[in-house]
């Protein structure tokens, strides 16, 4: 079983990113469960979401405390100091932005990738919903899910122009994601 | 939750106009209450007013019932015929009946009507002296009337004159003589002038009027009888009918503690001096419109008093407006109507109008109409009565009332009724 934690802000589509990813994983024949951690609904508030994927049914109904992967839709949240809590040594890190945020000492990243997901979203959708672009990047970087599975489930969440825009955003995220080197990082892909 | 009043038992003595009006009123106010209506007579309720009309043949006995049978079948009303009341025990709240049985009541209405007064005359032979206030009287009279019979009527009051008129109307060569101690006919109803006209009318139809005289003795004479009059003359007859007046039928109340004057004394609510005992109609002596008490044995008064008594018995405190003298007479097609006062008082004004046989006279106390009498003129006695009762200032319209009495009175009454309403 792998566990993923999403961090972002209200309005970025954090919860939906987790749900789309779960749907794609199930579409591909696996099992997945995702849920967001909610406070009061407010634009701009910090939001987290959790996802588990496995080859067997998932019964845990708890938050993710030891993520195998962190997906940071808003790297600025790193300043809160809790983003990397429990991050497994050698885990994967997918960041929305041109560079990696400063990492706390002791964090051992196995794979790090960046993508300008917000810029892609603004270009393709006209609004900063970075979720599909970063999912494309996640697929391209980790290979835990196929780009095709993600594209397959997009019609369940979008329609019309939004569907087309999100397809483009996902494709561009997949293409434009870049692996980056982290000092002291272990480069073995999990 | 309010308690529901217990249904009560009302006993009404007498099934005439007053008694029946009381039944209607009780029914309307308290439909669940029980009513027992006691009539001393064997016949279904009727009004003695119909007697001359029956005798004259203007109507037959099948058409005189005051209410259809279904009326008594409705609700909790029980009509007992031939049930004469012999005594009242107000303490135990019961009346005693002719068969000795006692009947309890919650409220009691005395509406036993009136009965004929007996004339004071010598009758050594015990000659049969008929009366004319009940169906039984009528039947007795009819049995004795053969063609050409001579009938002596004692008294030229309303009943006597109506009897005389009916006998004439009946025809068959019947001779009628009316003996009256006053010098005019209908002394309590008309002034002398009008009475004179009426008298002339009767005489023109062959009725012998013996005015200013009274019968002092009665004896057998051959196959008939003979009356001795106060002036010494003798009046032969086959049948003698006493119509010298009526009085309240209140004899059975002797010893009950009930206050009786000329009739059973009642106030405006028809309450007697005994608890829950009421009286109405001919038997009652109640206030008139101006408040003076009196017995007023005419139909509208009986109906009004009966209704007021019934409502009070049912717990609705209402007052009778007081009786107003009013009469309508129709003798041989000549019509006379009086309402209110008939005798003028010194302080009153009288306005009259005569046109041919038609006459009208109005009495005014200041601006107020207090009496009206009309002969051979269509009038509306009800509307006139309203004007008199309400004290409507009618003096300024006296000319209109005399010239066009129906329209004038109805107009004035209607205006006043709209103000009152």
């Amino acid at each position: 079983m792998k566990e993923i934690r999403f961090h972002g802000r209200g309005g970025q589509g954090v919860a939906m990113a987790a749900e789309i990813l779960a749907a794609a994983l199930v579409r591909a024949g696996g099992f997945a469960a995702a849920f967001p951690m909610f406070g009061f609904e407010r634009r701009g508030a910090p939001v987290a979401a959790f996802l588990r994927l496995d080859t067997a049914p998932i019964r845990e109904r708890t938050q993710v405390y030891a993520p195998d992967c962190l997906i940071l839709l808003d790297p600025g949240l790193v300043r809160t100091g809790v983003i990397f809590d429990g991050f497994k040594a050698g885990g994967a890190l997918v960041v929305n932005g041109a560079t990696l945020p400063p990492l706390p000492p002791g964090v051992r990243v196995g794979l790090a990738g960046i993508v300008r997901a917000t810029a892609i979203a603004l270009e393709e959708l006209g609004r900063p919903a970075a979720n599909t672009a970063i999912l494309g990047a996640f697929a391209g970087l980790t290979r835990w899910v196929s780009r095709g599975a993600l594209l397959d489930v997009l019609p369940d969440y979008f329609e019309g122009d939004a569907l087309d825009g999100n397809r483009r955003a996902l494709e561009r995220g997949y293409r434009e994601a870049r692996l980056v080197t982290v000092p002291e990082a272990a480069h073995a892909v999990p | 939750m309010s308690a529901v009043a217990r249904a009560r038992h009302h006993v009404i003595v007498g099934a005439g106009t007053a008694g029946l009006s009381a039944v209607e009123a009780i029914r309307r106010a308290c439909p669940d209450d029980a009513v027992t209506l006691l009539s001393a007579e064997p016949d279904p309720p009727y009004s003695p007013t119909v007697l001359p009309h029956l005798l004259a043949g203007r109507i037959d006995e099948t058409r005189i019932a005051l209410r259809p049978e279904a009326f008594f079948a409705r609700g909790r009303c029980r009509l007992r015929l031939g049930a004469a009341v012999t005594a009242l025990d107000a303490e135990r709240r019961q009346v005693r009946l002719g068969d000795g049985a006692a009947l309890g009541y919650d409220t009691l209405l005395l509406a036993s009507g009136s009965e004929s007064l007996r004339p004071a005359l010598e009758n050594p032979d015990g000659v049969e002296l008929l009366a004319f206030t009940r169906l039984g009287d009528l039947r007795a009279l009819r049995a004795r009337l053969h063609d050409g019979a001579r009938v002596a009527v004692l008294g030229a009051g309303l009943i006597g004159m109506e009897l005389a008129e009916a006998l004439v109307h009946r025809g068959r060569g019947i001779h009628v003589a009316v003996i009256e101690q006053e010098r005019q006919v209908l002394p309590r109803s008309f002034d002398a002038e009008l009475a004179g006209e009426i008298a002339a009318l009767f005489e023109s139809r062959g009725v012998a009027l013996r005015l200013g005289r009274r019968a002092t003795a009665l004896e057998r004479a051959g196959r008939g009888v003979a009356l001795t009059l106060s002036d010494g003359r003798r009046e032969p007859a086959d049948v003698v009918v006493a119509c010298v007046g009526v009085g309240p039928r209140a004899g059975f109340l002797a010893g009950s503690g009930l206050a009786v004057g000329r009739g059973v004394l009642v106030d405006r609510r028809m309450v007697t001096n005994l608890p829950d005992v009421y009286a109405a109609g001919d038997v009652a002596e109640g206030p008139s419109a101006d408040g003076t008490p009196g017995v007023h044995p005419v139909l509208p008064t009986a109906a009004g008093q009966g209704r007021v008594a019934g409502l009070n018995m049912a717990g609705r405190p209402v007052e009778h407006e007081g009786w107003l003298p009013a009469n309508a007479f129709n003798f041989f097609g000549r019509v006379a109507v009086t309402v209110g006062a008939t005798e003028i008082r010194p302080e009153w004004a009288s306005l009259a109008r005569t046109r041919g046989r038609a006459r009208g006279r109005l009495l005014f106390a200041g601006a107020r109409l207090v009496g009206a009498s009309f002969v051979e003129v269509p009038v509306d006695p009800g509307a006139l009565g309203w004007l008199i009762r309400q004290g409507v200032p009618a003096r300024e319209h006296a000319e209109l009332l005399l010239a066009r009495p129906v329209e004038g009175a109805r107009w004035l009454a209607a205006l006043s009724q709209r103000e009152v309403a």
């Binding site: 919860a15 708890t62 489930v153 | -």
Partner: protein, 401 residues
């Protein structure tokens, strides 16, 4: 026994608990949907209105001004012979409490889901089971789900239970707010034909309804013995619902290929020395904890209460019989008993047993506080220790201190 397991299949969609409930409602073809939004149940309503807007749901929709009216409108529709659905959470459930009692006392077979949530005060919109515990004596049938699939399936069963001529009671389908209402996981959606077949046994015409042809008076005033008779019959119907829940589980499996265990899901209880008792989503994590501890040789099992009202007292007593200790997991508090609500019921059930055993209550997960697997493993170990005679407090607050 592994129950409710889902094999990936073509009809499987990933959806959260609210959507799973909405799909179930759609399949049950209600005549009327009455709703008032409250977190975390709101997305369920939104999904149903979306179905309605798309023409997939042929139902009257009533956007009421409050929860009391939501349930009342549903009760009205059912009284007039329809099938109705409503849903709520937390203070919304409290605000409809008079109508809640009216519905059960009138024996109105309405179905209402509850996305469970804490109560005020203090204010919170977070998960917890306090709301359904506050109404557990209201005369309704209460089903509690552990997964999104079970939410969907329980709503289908709820209509069978509610509308059964021998039951005629309103039914709650309860699921943890956020932990299930917002948990996206694969859910198998049955075909409409299969659901229609399953529900054909109940429906309109099999119970007294409002009609001008044969006028009836609903909601009469009743005194004394007749009132006692109504209450007696209500109690009897509750017990019949308990029996029916067991037999329906087999029928459900025949229809849809899934069984859930009836009133109680018994998990690894056959050889268990200690028994854990719980209800709702945390039981999923508890199963993982049990599996984990069994690798260490700890013989623990779980009795997951699926039908909380009527309480499956006899079955639970059988499952408790002979255990060394019983631990009860509560996500609510029972003021005045200084414990959780489920614990009070389990304690009462223990009185049915000849032999006594140590009982221990664990309270956790209030106001969205996460019940982590490690906490539950500690709880199981604590229960085992009590079974060995180790002393300790009767009530343990997880994560506190």
């Amino acid at each position: 026994m592994t129950t409710g397991a889902l094999r990936p299949a073509a009809d499987v969609r990933v959806m959260d608990g609210n959507k799973a409930a909405a799909w179930a409602v759609l399949l049950c073809r209600p005549d009327l949907l009455a709703s008032y939004p409250i977190s975390p149940q709101t997305p369920l309503l939104e999904q149903l209105y979306k179905f309605r807007a798309e023409g997939r749901l042929d139902a009257e929709t009533v956007e009421v001004e409050g929860e009391n009216s939501a349930l009342s409108a549903a009760v009205g529709a059912v009284t007039a012979g329809g099938r109705a659905f409503t849903a709520t959470s937390s203070m919304g459930l409290m605000f409809m409490y008079d109508a809640y009692l009216y519905a059960s006392g009138q024996r109105v077979p309405v179905v209402m889901s509850v996305a469970t949530r804490e109560q005020c005060a203090p204010h919170t919109v977070s998960s917890g089971q306090q709301d359904i515990m506050m109404v557990k004596e209201g005369g309704w049938v209460q089903l509690v789900a552990e997964s999104c699939q079970e939410i969907l399936d329980s709503i289908l069963v709820a209509y069978r239970l509610a509308e059964d001529p021998n039951v005629q009671l309103p039914v709650n389908v309860c699921y943890d707010g956020y932990y299930l209402s917002h948990l996206s996981e694969p859910v198998g959606v049955p075909t409409q034909e299969a659901v229609d077949r399953f529900l054909a046994a109940v429906g309109v015409g099999k119970r007294p309804v409002l009609s001008t042809e044969a006028p009836l008076s609903f909601g009469a005033f009743v005194l004394g013995e007749l009132y006692a008779e109504y209450r007696y019959k209500h109690c009897q119907a509750m017990q019949r619902a308990l029996d029916l829940a067991e037999s329906l589980d087999g029928e459900f499996q025949a229809a849809f290929g899934r069984a859930w265990g009836g009133s109680i899901e018994a998990y690894r209880t056959e050889d268990a020395e200690v028994l854990l008792v719980g209800t709702g989503s945390a039981c999923g994590t508890l199963k993982v904890a049990i599996d984990h501890l069994r690798q260490e040789g700890v013989r623990a099992g779980l009795a997951r209460i699926r039908m909380f009202r009527p309480f499956p007292r006899r079955r639970l007593a059988e499952l408790m019989r002979g255990r060394r200790a019983v631990g009860v997991l509560d996500r609510s508090v029972c003021f005045g008993w200084n414990s959780g609500h489920l614990y009070v019921d389990v304690r009462a059930t223990a009185a049915d047993l000849e032999a006594r055993m140590p009982l221990v209550n664990f309270i956790g997960g209030l106001a969205g506080a996460d019940i982590r697997r490690e906490m539950l493993e500690d709880a199981v170990r604590t229960t085992v220790a009590r079974g060995r005679g180790e002393p300790g407090p009767e009530v343990v607050w997880l994560g506190l201190e």
